[in-house]
């Protein structure tokens, strides 16, 4: 389903980034080209099958989010290759794809289109999305008036109800109130039972243990260990205890 082979991702650090004409001129006069390289990922390889739920753990800056972006096609890897069979639905971070001036209803269609779905499909799913988000009374309100919890509910409802083949979840279950968290975890479980492949990034080891069947441990861009949830989580927790 997803094969990642020897993926490396190199960035030039922000400090050296040339963003204005003046900087470009100064830099070219000084013959100083940015050399401050940083490898966010190095030689990461793994393979998961349809229906697998892969948890990705590691400290801040370990390369978890970068890996997700390489898999979803946002970043093109500097080295190696990624092969994905099937449609990917990235979980948009808290309303990243929303336009605050538009109403919730308009945003459902905009966001759905951004995720690559057609009009007919979204029209069919619309009622279901509204019902799941529990925002039926607010669909004609511009989302700039929404609370962050309401935004998260809307975003989650759109991402999950469109039945992706691969779902990418980056720290989303920590938003919304307790009831919605429970509901969204149940929803993810039912998607997993239905055969959806999930890539799940979380700092909550408890969440990872609960839903994942495989775990990848990243440290400074390198994969430390890939294996069963039990094994990797235990070793990861042990390394934190040191």
């Amino acid at each position: 389903m997803i094969t990642v082979e020897h993926v490396g991702m190199k960035f030039h650090l922000g400090i050296e980034k040339i963003n204005t004409l003046k900087e470009a001129l100064i830099k070219s006069v000084k013959r100083e080209m940015p050399k401050n390289e940083f490898w966010a990922l190095r030689d990461v390889s793994f393979h998961i099958d349809k229906g697998d739920v892969l948890g990705i753990v590691g400290a801040n800056g370990a390369g978890k989010s970068t890996l997700l972006k390489v898999i979803s096609g946002v970043f093109e890897p500097t080295q190696g290759s990624v092969r994905v069979n099937g449609m990917i639905a990235p979980m948009l971070e808290l309303g990243a794809g929303f336009d605050t001036e538009l109403t919730a209803r308009e945003n459902v269609f905009l966001n759905g289109a951004v995720l690559g779905y057609g009009k007919q499909f979204l029209c069919e799913k619309y009622e279901e999305i509204v019902a799941f988000s529990q925002l039926a009374d607010f669909m004609e309100v511009p989302v700039r008036n929404f609370s962050s919890g309401m935004l998260a509910r809307l975003a989650f409802s759109i991402s999950t109800l469109v039945e992706p083949e691969v779902l990418i979840v980056d720290e989303i279950l920590s938003v919304g109130d307790a009831a919605f968290q429970k509901k969204s975890r149940e929803k993810m479980q039912s998607m997993i039972d239905g055969g959806t492949t999930v890539l799940f990034v979380s700092h909550s080891i408890d969440n990872v243990r609960e839903i994942c069947n495989k775990v990848l441990w990243l440290d400074h861009g390198r994969s430390v260990l890939l294996g069963s949830t039990q094994e990797v989580c235990d070793k990861y927790m042990a390394s934190l205890g040191e």
């Binding site: 040339i18 470009a24 946002v74 905009l110 951004v114 690559g116």
Partner: protein
């Protein structure tokens, strides 16, 4: 390769539609008159210019010309170009929240911005025909040829939009530079004056300006009711195709680097 692009476009058709719809809705959200502004804006600009240039500066144009129609024709065409290119300028940087989260063809953003401006162009044409009607200018069959003008202008505008969108990612200075460039461009294009007021040796320079060609083509049709020369037909297409090909190639070469600069 062309087939591949077509299949991608087919897949993202709905997204394009949604992006245009969003831009258009957001543009007039919270304004009382809303979309009416698309008609009123060129109309009032034309009125102001007509008053300023015929009464204050005693601008004379060749013969007994219909000055209001002369101005609004230039305005409608030139405003479409500046509006669309200014939108395209920030098409990529303004949508970074989508580009960094979801994989999608990045061309779609400048294209969406240019199409949004086409919708505005449609409304400003209502203003143009209102002025034609009020000033009792004849509408002849030649008006059909305006479609050719707009089609070539669309290609040209989109091409420039691609270049600007890509450049702005790397150099945010483009926003200020382009602002000045459009100002110079406005004066270099005979919108409110006639080309006969510039010296003979300058005429070739003015003719090399694509916007002069697009505006003159439309004026030949609307004001003089004649079929533009074959040469003009060719020039319009050449400018349009050249800009689009150059813009597309430039954008395609740069787009992989966008993500590191946003």
């Amino acid at each position: 390769m062309i087939f591949r692009y077509l299949s991608i476009w087919k897949r993202y058709q709905f997204l394009l539609y949604q992006l245009v719809l969003r831009d258009f809705k957001v543009k007039y959200k919270r304004s009382v008159l809303g979309v009416l502004w698309s008609i009123l804006h060129p109309l009032f600009m034309m009125l102001i210019m007509t008053v300023v240039f015929t009464n204050l500066f005693k601008m004379t144009t060749s013969g007994s010309m219909n000055y209001p129609v002369y101005i609004i024709t230039g305005l409608v065409i030139f405003n479409f170009f500046t509006e669309a290119t200014n939108y395209s300028l920030t098409a990529i940087t303004g949508n970074f929240n989508l580009i960094t989260k979801v994989h999608m063809p990045k061309y779609i953003f400048p294209v969406a911005k240019t199409i949004t401006s086409c919708v505005n162009l449609f409304f400003s044409l209502i203003a143009l025909y209102a002025v034609i009607f009020v000033t009792k200018e004849d509408v002849t069959w030649h008006h059909i040829l305006l479609l050719y003008d707009f089609a070539c202008l669309f290609l040209f505008t989109l091409g420039i939009g691609f270049i600007l969108a890509a450049l702005t990612v790397f150099f945010r200075d483009m926003i200020y530079l382009y602002n000045l460039l459009t100002l110079a461009w406005t004066y270099m294009t005979p919108i409110f004056y006639d080309i006969s007021i510039v010296g003979d040796q300058m005429v070739p320079v003015f003719r090399a300006n694509p916007m002069y060609q697009y505006v003159t083509f439309a004026r030949n049709i609307i004001l003089y009711h004649k079929i533009p020369s074959t040469q003009q037909f060719v020039i319009l297409l050449v400018f349009g195709a050249a800009a689009l090909i150059a813009g597309f190639c430039f954008f395609r070469r740069q787009q992989k680097k966008f993500i590191y600069y946003i």
